[in-house]
Amino acid sequence: MEIKRSVNGNTVTFALSGRLDTITSPQLSKEIEAAFEKEPVNLVFDFSALDYISSSGLRVLLSAQKKVNALGTKMTVKGVNDTIKEIFEVTGFTGILTIA
């Protein structure tokens, strides 16, 4: 998985490509942690080039969502493909995440 991070004001965007799974999710988790080091930020996850997500990746998103909820910032997931959309639906994440 490749993660491209960009910052615009207090919004941090993570553009992910490849697979967000058991192997790669710790990498994203560290990136998110680092994004919150200085100040509360809004998060955007661009999944346009992400092929696959497993429960490990979903847990990272869940943790990030809880963090922004606690800080009063916002989190958006965009560019979700059909496979990932189906996984979000099955696991109830469509009701938890803001999917653009």
Binding site: T22, I23, Y52, S54, S55, L58, D82, T83, V90
Partner: protein
């Protein structure tokens, strides 16, 4: 067709190698891109479920296919507690243990019968003339803990796992066409089946 057997030891390297093989076999099997992804996902969540439900990260994985079905098999050596046994059985579509054939399978069915269907008080000895197929066994000694089912215990396990504990289960239940759990005395096997549409 049965694939090679891939060992799992909880390391990212072996897990990824096994999942890559599952993906390649799913492509060879003729699944479309989406079902290839779901096959890999089912294998990954099967591995995750073994760890989250039972705390097991060592075992083996292989794939078996027929004309219609693509099966991911996960096997591990384990002796389960009653709670773990119930959790694992609950993962199966049929909500029961489907033991392998043979004498070990019959013993396993007997243990299942004791663990799930009997209400035993203080007497730890259970005589086995309660089912036709079990007549050949004279007695089984079972600890009270083995046969004691407690909703409190179940609740505690759920709390310990925290939020999102059932993500693997949701994924497996939704995307697999069948899930068969075989619990023997010292080993367990999970078969996750995906069929061609």
């Amino acid at each position: 067709m049965k694939s090679d057997i891939f060992q799992l030891d909880g390391s990212a390297l072996l897990t990824e190698q096994a999942l890559d093989k599952v993906e390649k076999l799913a492509i060879y099997f003729g699944f479309d891109d989406k079902d290839v992804a779901f096959s890999r996902l089912l294998a990954e969540e099967g591995i995750n479920a073994l760890e989250s439900l039972l705390g097991i990260n060592k075992g083996s994985l292989w794939v078996e296919t027929t004309d219609k079905d693509f099966e991911v098999h996960l096997k591990a050596n384990a002796q389960l507690s009653t709670d773990q046994r119930e959790e694992l059985i609950d993962l199966s579509k049929a909500k029961r243990n489907t033991p392998k054939k043979g004498i070990l399978g019959r013993i396993s069915r007997l243990v299942d019968f004791i663990a799930t269907d009997m209400v035993v008080g203080e007497n730890p000895f259970i005589f086995s003339n309660m089912a036709d197929e079990m007549l050949s066994y004279s007695a089984i000694m079972a600890s009270p803990d083995m046969i004691y089912w407690s909703l409190q215990k179940t609740k505690r396990i759920e709390e310990e796992k925290g939020e999102g504990a059932d993500i693997e289960r949701s994924i497996i239940e939704k995307f697999a066409d069948d899930i068969v759990v075989s619990i023997a005395l010292k080993s367990i096997e999970i078969t996750i089946k995906k069929s061609k549409k």
